[in-house]
Each structure stands twice: as structure tokens, then as C-alpha cells.
């Protein structure tokens, strides 16, 4: 016999490997010594988020707020910022471009 409650808990179990994998997707390094603590705290938050799975399944769709819809305009070229302005906040730049990484 299947037990839906147990199944839900299994879905929501956060493991160290989950956290490592999610961190990789999020482009974040989690130091080894913080991994256990973070797994525990993620588990607590996920348990909390899990309370929505006790809600009666609703088929209320939600696709926008206050009847907002997409806004379109003609594709007209209008004055924009200079390269100098756009680059003004770059930590590093080279030859009028953003520098992604130092050359080898």
C-alpha cells in the first residue's frame, strides 16, 4: 500500500549532495565546514515550505497581477548610453570591452 505522506517527506528530504548540486547551479561555493549547517537550515525552510502541500489542490491559475499584460512597442532605435558610461562600473575593462577574465 502506498503512503502519500511518507512519499511527500521523501520528496522533501534535503541531502548534502542536493545542497552541493544546487550551489553549483547557483554558482556559489559552499565551504565543506558550512555544508552540514546549510543542509540543516535548508531542510527547515523546505519543511516550512512543504506546508503548502497540505492545502487542498486548487486549480486557481495565476498568470498575472491586476490584469497586467505584455507591453509591446515598435522597434525604434532611440539614443542610449555611450560605451564609456556603460563601462564606467566595470571592475576591469580592456579595449572598450568588459574584461571577463585575464588573458593567460
Amino acid at each position: 500500500m502506498t503512503c502519500p505522506v511518507l512519499f511527500e517527506r521523501l520528496v522533501s528530504m534535503v541531502t548534502r549532495e542536493d545542497v552541493e548540486n544546487i550551489a553549483l547551479l547557483s554558482k556559489l561555493f559552499v565551504p565543506e565546514e558550512e555544508l552540514d549547517g546549510l543542509t540543516k537550515s535548508m531542510q527547515e525552510i523546505i519543511d516550512f515550505a512543504d506546508t503548502i502541500n497540505n492545502a487542498p489542490s486548487a486549480d486557481d491559475s495565476f498568470d498575472n497581477i491586476n490584469n497586467l499584460s505584455n507591453v509591446f512597442r515598435e522597434d525604434e532605435v532611440i539614443p542610449s548610453y555611450s560605451n564609456e558610461e556603460i563601462l564606467s562600473n566595470a571592475p576591469e575593462q580592456a579595449e572598450d570591452h568588459f574584461l571577463v577574465r585575464n588573458r593567460e
Binding site: 554558482k27 503548502i52 495565476f62
Partner: protein, 485 residues
């Protein structure tokens, strides 16, 4: 009380010059900011230059607008051209936007005097201002207590009268909660009423800019000024109603004020008593109090955290150390550079929310969390629609408690999330809500109540709030700090 109309009157009747006024605010910031930590960047030169422009206009006999020459502040996630805008995160240190947020474009054209940028939880993620890279802003009623968050710096500055008003942003209560904690007024407008262009994004379907002020009248003045349609924000509608200022004093006799039982569950007694006492004030003004159930509310908080974190994980993907802000010093290849930059640049709470957001959006969990949360968002929107068939506005506490002591929020994330329980439903449904002071607890800390209305009913909720301030003005108190006017 240093309200906008009082300052306007002082300037137009030449009781003081705009420059003198700006200097007195800057002096008070200098004296009190060490303890309050409300400001993270004081823009004295810009403030004095604007003040001199206003003085010239006054001297030449020109009429000045209500917000002209009024000393104010902006939360540090609102872009200010050429002025550092950090979101109180290490990852944006040194970032000087090359454009203004539309709200600041409007106010700077009105010659409002920007005193500086104010403290906030890092990327607006927090309820106590303590996740700020620059440490938290403190409560002007007791500096051992937090100012609230995330717009804690604005609330601390306005509560301490080291700014006459400020603009904050509200994703899950970040305007109303700190306003409640600091004994002042905070308006979260309808989603789409105020342009978000230039507001550094946290959760785009929930974020909204709004005023934090000393009085309801001031909130109406500022809202009327900033609620314009903006073609640079594709979610902008502007406020098409009449001026909210004009209708502040409308009679509320016969108006139906609703109280949802769920809003009072788990609320501390002193807060509950103050809100119910306010309901009695409304009854004495001729309003009818109606009670009803709003069961969908119990899912609002997890729905909020799932949606907000999912959107944050996407919005904060842009911080990679390439185009702006902080970049790590030593790295080995592009992937390593981006990961190190982000790991060193973001604080713990921001990382936690990015991870949670990525988790709920990842394959295998998307249906159980994100999709389910979006469905429940629809349920909550519908529940509010139905509630507004029973009443005109809803009265609720703003926060289940008063401002807590510093350090408590950091120790328990879930407990801190619970402080947002009364504020998040409004963001989920895109509704307007205003927090108004409604009393003090035994320790003298302010209590706030919230008036919630239908979409684009700012005129009505501000009218209801104004009537309360007229009847119970004793709950609007100055603190020992700041400029005395």
C-alpha cells in the same frame, strides 16, 4: 512634527531658508547616525546644492511645489545617477548607477533635497535590517531594538526625524513592517501604481516602491507625486484615480471595515488589543465593523517565500563580477571567478534564498513547490476578491509583535520569516496596504495597524488611515532625535 506641509509652510513664509533647513538635518544626521546607523551614504554636497536652487526660486518670488526643498532619503536599492547604490551588499560596493530610478527622477525634478541613501537588509532580504553589509539600522524609540526591515534605514531616519520622508520598497512587508516598528506611516502601493524602473530587483512580481512618512497626509502627498505611468517599466499602470490628497478627509460613515479572523491568530496580545481598539475608534466614526474568515491566508507565508526566493535566484544571477560591483581578486578561469565573486560578495541570508529559489525551480521539485505556490497565489487573489464583496477595506495588525531586540533575527530564520505573516498577503495579491501607528506597548514601543484595500484604492485606504490619525493623533509621536520643527 517635521511633516511635509509644515516644512512647505516654513519655506514659503520664509521662517528659514532651504539651505538652513538642509544644514540642520545634516547636522542632526552627523550627531545621531553613529548610534542609529540609518544612513549608509550622506550626500551633503548634493543636498546643499539643491537647497540653494530652491532658495533662489523663493527669493525670485516663484511658487514652489509641496515637495520642493523637503529633506528626504532613499533606500539604497533605488538607483541614483552618480551616487553609490549598493543594496547594502558587498557585491555592489562602489556601484554608481548611470541613470536614475523613475521615482528619483520625479522627486529630483521637484527639487526634493536628497540627504543620503539609507540602510536596508542586503538586497531587501530580511525583516530586521541586520542582514545589511553595513550592520543594521536601529530603532529611534530604543536603540537596543531593531528598526525592522528591510527598509529599516528609511524608517529609522524618518522616525528619528533626520529625514522628513523617504522612499522604500516592499516585497513582503519591507515598507509597512519597519514603519510599524518605528511608529510612522508606510504605504505599499498597488502593484503597478508606482514605477519600479531603477529599483534593483529582488522579486519582481512582488516588489513595489512606496513612501515612508511621519503622517498619513504626507504619504498621500508623496504617493500622488510618484504614482505616474512610466513606459520604462512594463508593469507600470500609474494611478488613474483622483488625487489621494483631495479625498483624505472624506466621511467614512457607513463604510464597512473588515477584520479577518486569521489575521489575529498568533498575534501578541498587546498588538491585538491596540488593533481592536482602533476598530472601536472607527465604529465611533460611524463605520461598520464586519468579521469574516479568510482561510487562504494560512498558506500566504510559504507561498511568499517560495515565489520570492525563486524570483530572487533568477534576478540575482546577474551579479557575476564582470559589469559592475565587486570582483574577486584571485581566480582560475571564468567559472571560478563568477563563483568566488558571488560567494565572497553575497551574505548568508542572500545565499540561503538563492539556494532555496534554485531548489524550488529545479527539475523534480518545480511542480511540488513553485507550481503549487503559483496555484495558491491564484487562490489567495480570489479570496481577497471575495473578501472585498463583504467589506470596503480590511483592518489587520501590521506585524504580530513590536520591534524585537537586536540579534534575535539572525539566530532563527524561520522565526524571523514569521514576522512577515501579516504583510505578505498584500504583496501576493498585488494590493495596496498602509501601516499606521495605533498605540504603544508597555515598554513604549510603537504598534502598527494595516489598512488594506482593493487594487488601485489608495485614495480609500489613505482616507480611512487619515480619519484615524485625526481621531487618535496621540499615537503619532516624535522621538528624542533629530530636527525639532
Amino acid at each position: 512634527m517635521g511633516t511635509i506641509s509644515k516644512i512647505h509652510e516654513m519655506l514659503t513664509t520664509k521662517q528659514c531658508s532651504c539651505e538652513e533647513l538642509a544644514k540642520s538635518y545634516l547636522d542632526q544626521i552627523e550627531k545621531s547616525n553613529g548610534e542609529l546607523n540609518a544612513y549608509v551614504n550622506v550626500t551633503a554636497d548634493e543636498a546643499l546644492a539643491t537647497a540653494q536652487t530652491v532658495d533662489k526660486k523663493i527669493a525670485s518670488g516663484e511658487t514652489i511645489g509641496m515637495l520642493e526643498g523637503v529633506p528626504m532619503t532613499l533606500k539604497d536599492n533605488i538607483s541614483t545617477k552618480g551616487i553609490e547604490t549598493t543594496c547594502c551588499s558587498k557585491i555592489l560596493t562602489g556601484y554608481k548607477p548611470i541613470y536614475n530610478a523613475t521615482v528619483w527622477d520625479i522627486l529630483s525634478k521637484e527639487n526634493s533635497v536628497l540627504l543620503g541613501k539609507t540602510n536596508m537588509d542586503e538586497f531587501a532580504m530580511g525583516s530586521s535590517c541586520e542582514t545589511s553589509y553595513f550592520k543594521g539600522a536601529m530603532n529611534p524609540f530604543n536603540t537596543n531594538h531593531v528598526s525592522g526591515g528591510s527598509s529599516g534605514g528609511v524608517a529609522s531616519a524618518v522616525g528619528a526625524n533626520i529625514a522628513a520622508f523617504g522612499l522604500g520598497s516592499d516585497t513582503g512587508g519591507s515598507i509597512r513592517q519597519p514603519a510599524s516598528f518605528c511608529g510612522i506611516v508606510g504605504l505599499k502601493p498597488t502593484y503597478g501604481a508606482v514605477s519600479r524602473y531603477g529599483l534593483i530587483a529582488y522579486a519582481s512580481s512582488l516588489d513595489q516602491i512606496g513612501p515612508i512618512t511621519k503622517s498619513v497626509e504626507d504619504a498621500a502627498i508623496v504617493f500622488d507625486a510618484i504614482s505616474k505611468y512610466d513606459d520604462k517599466d512594463s508593469t507600470s499602470k500609474g494611478y488613474s484615480g483622483t488625487s489621494t490628497y483631495e479625498t483624505l478627509n472624506n466621511d467614512i460613515k457607513g463604510m464597512k471595515i473588515g477584520i479577518a479572523k486569521e489575521y489575529l491568530d498568533g498575534i501578541r496580545d498587546d498588538v491585538k488589543e491596540a488593533v481592536l481598539a482602533a476598530a472601536e475608534v472607527y465604529r465611533s466614526l460611524g463605520a461598520e465593523i464586519v468579521y469574516f474568515d479568510l482561510p487562504a491566508l494560512k498558506y500566504a507565508l510559504p507561498v511568499y517565500y517560495i515565489i520570492a526566493c525563486a524570483e530572487a535566484s533568477s534576478n540575482l544571477g546577474r551579479y557575476d563580477g564582470i559589469r559592475y560591483g565587486y570582483k574577486t581578486e584571485h581566480y582560475n578561469g571564468t567559472h571560478d571567478m563568477i563563483c568566488r565573486t558571488r560567494s565572497e560578495g553575497f551574505g548568508d541570508e542572500v545565499k540561503r534564498r538563492i539556494l532555496l529559489g534554485t531548489y524550488v525551480l529545479s527539475a523534480g521539485y518545480y511542480d511540488a513547490y513553485y507550481k503549487k505556490a503559483q496555484n495558491l497565489r491564484g487562490t489567495i487573489v480570489k479570496a481577497f476578491d471575495e473578501a472585498f464583496e463583504k467589506c470596503d477595506v480590511i483592518l489587520a495588525p501590521t506585524v504580530p509583535m513590536t520591534a524585537f531586540e537586536k540579534g534575535r533575527a539572525v539566530s532563527d530564520p524561520i522565526e524571523t520569516y514569521l514576522t512577515d505573516i501579516c504583510t505578505v498577503p498584500v504583496n501576493i495579491a498585488g494590493l495596496p496596504g498602509v501601516s499606521v501607528p495605533c498605540g504603544f506597548n508597555a515598554k513604549g514601543m510603537p504598534i502598527g495597524m494595516q489598512i488594506i484595500g482593493k487594487s488601485f484604492s489608495e485614495a480609500q485606504i489613505l482616507n480611512v488611515a487619515y480619519k484615524y490619525q485625526q481621531a487618535a493623533g496621540e499615537n503619532f509621536k516624535d522621538t528624542k532625535w533629530g530636527v525639532k520643527l
